[in-house]
Symmetry: C2
Subunit: 211 residues, 2 copies
């Protein structure tokens, strides 16, 4: 089976979202800016059907990260956000043609029929937890990678359950002073360095989990 | 005046010391191992009057970090540790011939005469706080760098008071799950990347503080 991976951006003080998360600021105070380096890349623009952006090292790193991805796993918040579920299920944050273009397994408490979208993305709603979602994603991905898109809670559960093979942390040169720490209660996790590359915008630290 | 800098090793989850600090484990559970990369280097051995060690990228990075240092600032714990002060002042952890070879300004509540050691190190005990210690160190260093040797508390005070110009974080590929976070309450600190280099042992992230 293919490897299970994730990529996530943290502040220099180790937070993936800032303090004071609200509906207007779902990444907390300063959290949105962590991702400036990513939205500026040529690869991000291309993924979202746009042109331009910076064809820099950061763009190359993310092209590599998304290469050969056969399925995506994400939490309910990443799919559609808390409070977004009315009487009628909605279609998530990602529009008519989401950038994933592979099966996406959404960890949720709300059972629901699969939701096919344009361009190759089909959302599958998994009510049995992260472990099951990853197993189903691996089945769908075959030899290709399973990419855990977040949020932090899904990533922490996957790490804690020993389901992650490799991951990459993008350390942005910003401090948030508080918020959601990426790692919590994972003292037993053993890793080794795969490689580190960086641009002035962000440092990309890639690790393999030792099992 | 020369720049004020520090170098410090953190775990991948952002701690400079592990949980459960005791007299036997002053860096907490797992904290000592964070520094394996450093004690293995040829430069560390040379600094401590030994031969051997690895002449690797990590050794080069630390040779650069200590180059042109004109004075050192450290906390009382880094000098001699809590509980080490009896009726007679003692000489600290660093022996007859400490590796600093420049004036060292120790932030402490205990006033005391300067303590000259062999090889160029003289300890000066500063009871007026971190800001005064750094000012005295800058005076002593002239155009050379002031190097804050730690611990975390002294570094955080210096960062919080806007006294640091550049710093380097050595991220070890280990998780501690808790302990002493490097950054605390420093949301207003603005930095830019100077450079990032890495070996399989550790990632060296160097930043400049924007003022």
């Amino acid at each position: 089976m293919g490897t299970v991976t994730f990529d996530i951006t943290t502040s220099l003080d180790g937070f993936v979202a800032g303090p004071d998360i609200t509906a207007e600021e779902p990444l907390g105070r300063g959290g949105e800016e962590l991702h400036d380096w990513w939205t500026r890349t040529a690869f991000f623009r291309e993924m979202h059907g746009e042109s331009g952006g910076e064809a820099n090292e950061d763009s190359e790193v993310m092209t590599e990260a998304y290469a050969n991805v056969g399925a995506v796993v994400m939490g309910r918040g990443m799919f559609g956000g808390d409070g977004a579920w009315g009487d009628e299920p909605w279609e998530g944050w990602w529009g008519e043609e989401p950038p994933f273009r592979v099966p996406v397994f959404v960890v949720t408490h709300h059972a629901r029929e699969p939701l096919p979208r344009e361009g190759g993305t089909t959302y599958h709603f998994v009510t049995e937890g992260v472990e099951t979602a990853i197993a189903q994603a691996q089945e769908a991905a075959g030899e290709r990678k399973v990419f855990i898109a977040g949020g932090a809670n899904v990533i922490q559960q996957a790490l804690g359950a020993g389901l992650v093979d490799e991951f990459q942390i993008h350390v942005a040169p910003r401090l948030l002073g508080g918020g959601t720490p990426l790692f919590a209660g994972l003292a037993d996790l053993q890793v080794e360095t795969v490689r580190v590359v960086a641009s002035p915008n962000v440092a990309h630290l890639k690790y393999r989990v030792l099992k």
